[in-house]
Symmetry: C2
Subunit: 419 residues, 2 copies
């Protein structure tokens, strides 16, 4: 018999059907026994009145996988307005052992480390599963927006001959007898691919040997990378980023209507770094924005512009990577930006250098390790720029979750290599 | 002035516009000079009649990035029926140095190693760029098919504590002082995620320290992974794979109408391994199919079924990984399959074990390194199965390309770690 998903059950009232899923909860009352079965689309209430059927439900352990054949009966008190009556329950595998924590309660009571130790069970909880569904939706919205705007998806190497962003926090490995590294970003490759497709994006893992244990850092995270050519300056890149964020938020909202999402202004307000310092009440010689500055800028944007998003542009060159394009007329600053979301940096981007001589100068003439990257700029590269969004950070901020590990299936950090 | 892409030019006849792109070719005739500019959407012919404009074109190097402002003029002899006349040419960066090989000829004359050494230039050639566009389209078709079928995209760790498939061909790395490995596949994780979402997929890099230099193997490739629960057996998985392949082929055809694509039968023919050996003329005790057997099976499928695709099912258990589900009633064989495309194995998959005790038995009681994976099967897993498609192999086979390196942007192999 064809299995029916819980979401489809209301269309089958009066029919005998088979449903299947996990034993989510049992409630054994005096007169009746309830079995709540969880499947990919929701919960199904199964009701047993007679002794034999009750005994079958009593014998089950939570998380055992079962198939239940019975009659779909309307009941306005049931979760979806219908329930299964006269059930025949069949176990689809060996009975499960009791889960290390209850999955049926509104919140997981186990500590985060315990959840992560038992990730394959914890992720079945609604809060954790919803976060991963939001990540999938955000990635889909990212791609859909860029596909529609003429971007081409690329797949680039994650094993590289030299550190991408800096020599720090990079994982080394033995590559057939040669020293190699895990890519910290697809930065160089996406720039080179602008020379091929003009507009490119990549969704993939990046690796940082992050030695600090914080709520925001992971040793592996999913980077949503974009790069586009023939820009006038960083503002063209910011316009694409605005549309991408709007597309990501819309996709989450569409797939998960219960998740409250922020409005994304048609034009996200932007302030120059110099003005941002003044707004945040920071000394004018600060080289970067501290978390407290970002928070007060977030409050300012909400108050003055009604926006949960704020661009800060023109960061000092000395705090940005060597490929950053300087600001015309103010070479101590750069054509770069951060996008703050609710007072936290969520995206970094900017215009890049595109001339060979500028790269040689920026590197002080030392091209060691980046020869093939810099060489490409001798073969004609248009003015270009791009950005990278950390998927886990985006989802955590969107859902108001404090720790990125809560929105990551199997996080990797200083202390965690399993499961 | 807003830049116009070459594909839009026919809509602007009579207007003064600005186009931009790479100097693809120059043709300097006695009476007139032609400049062919290449952008993301095609080629644009620019015509210079007078001496000053001709001199500007003569001074350009191939691959220099230029903007050209001029009048869009109908000319049925021009590539897209229009050309730019009275052009003002402006260089958008420093002039390029001459490319290491001609990009404007129908085929790249440089050897494959030379192309790979200069990948950022070689990939601009139409043949190489088309292959990467086909890969992007195939990945999009993969995701679209699965999104529509209720699958959830997942992102799993690429740094793992133990080898996934076997101890061989795995890259080791130092992970904060602990020995770790690059994931050879997301096999364990996608199975665990069936416990969360029932149906999952992942598009991501996998790593094999492949010690042989062949036309089919890369040290990193893009794996398109699928896993689904509540299957009866491997045939439910094969039905999903058929739809996925059809979706991938359709997406390539839609984005690249000039690429000839195979028909995908509504039901792909399938033969059991035992029968496949007989068809291929192999001895009945062969444990696996050799490349020559696969080729003759491919010919047989085309001849007997008019299909370029063929499933071979029921491979001997001893040639499949430990998590493979045996064939009921014939435990020496398995509920597994390969999908052959034009006589070459392109996809491997099957039903997996889903009971804890079966895993313990399959591993001979030794769970070392896979404890957290196997432990998950004590918490209720439905009958499930899945498959993995190597994106580069799929594209190479689809385009009739002999070497997967020709369809990979920056391949990694025994000898190649750059660019």
């Amino acid at each position: 018999m064809q299995r029916i998903l819980s979401a489809q059950l209301p269309h089958h009232v009066g029919e005998t059907v088979t449903i299947a899923g996990w034993v989510h909860r049992r409630r054994l009352l005096k007169s009746v026994a309830f079995l709540i079965v969880r499947d990919a689309t929701g919960l199904i209430q199964v009701v047993a009145g007679d002794d034999k059927r009750r005994a079958a439900i009593e014998a089950l352990t939570e998380e055992t996988v079962v198939a239940v054949t019975g009659t779909v009966t309307a009941n306005s008190a049931a979760p979806s307005g219908v329930e299964i009556t006269d059930p025949e329950v069949r176990t689809l595998g060996a009975p499960a052992v009791p889960p290390p924590f209850d999955l049926f309660r509104p919140a997981l009571s186990a500590s985060l480390p315990t959840q992560l130790d038992h990730a394959s069970v914890a992720l079945r909880h609604r809060t954790r599963a919803t976060a991963l569904k939001a990540a999938a939706a955000a990635a889909a919205g990212f791609r859909a927006t860029l596909d529609a705007a003429g971007f081409t998806e690329i797949f680039t190497p994650k094993i590289v001959a030299s550190a991408t962003e800096s020599g720090a926090n990079v994982f080394g490995l033995d590559y057939f007898g040669t020293r190699a590294y895990l890519a910290q970003s697809p930065q160089f490759y996406k720039q080179l691919m602008v020379g091929v497709f003009e507009r490119v994006y990549e969704v993939g893992p990046v690796f940082r040997a992050e030695p600090h244990d914080t709520a925001r850092h992971l040793a592996q995270y999913t980077s949503l990378d974009v790069e586009l050519g023939f820009v006038t300056d960083h503002r063209d890149v910011m316009a694409v980023l605005r549309d991408v964020v709007a597309g990501m938020v819309a996709a989450v909202s569409e797939r998960l209507p219960a998740v409250p999402v922020p409005g994304v202004p048609a034009v996200i307000p932007a302030v120059h770094f110099v003005d941002a310092l003044a707004i945040a009440g920071a000394p004018p010689d600060e080289p970067d924005l501290a978390p407290a500055h970002e928070r007060s800028l977030g409050e300012w944007a909400l108050r003055e512009h009604g926006s949960e998003f704020l661009f800060v542009t023109g960061y000092p060159m000395r705090k940005r990577p060597f490929y950053t394009h300087p600001e015309p007329g103010r070479p101590t600053h750069s054509n770069s930006f951060d996008l703050l979301f609710r007072g936290l940096e969520m995206v970094t981007g900017g215009q890049r250098l595109h001339e060979y001589d500028d790269y040689v100068a920026a590197l002080g003439g030392d091209l060691t390790g980046v020869e093939s990257y810099v060489e490409a700029f001798r073969h004609g590269m248009p003015p270009h720029g791009g950005f990278a969004i950390g998927l886990e950070r985006f989802v955590a901020r969107l859902l108001g979750v404090a720790n990125v590990r809560e929105v990551t299936a199997f996080p990797r950090d200083l202390h965690r290599l399993t499961p």
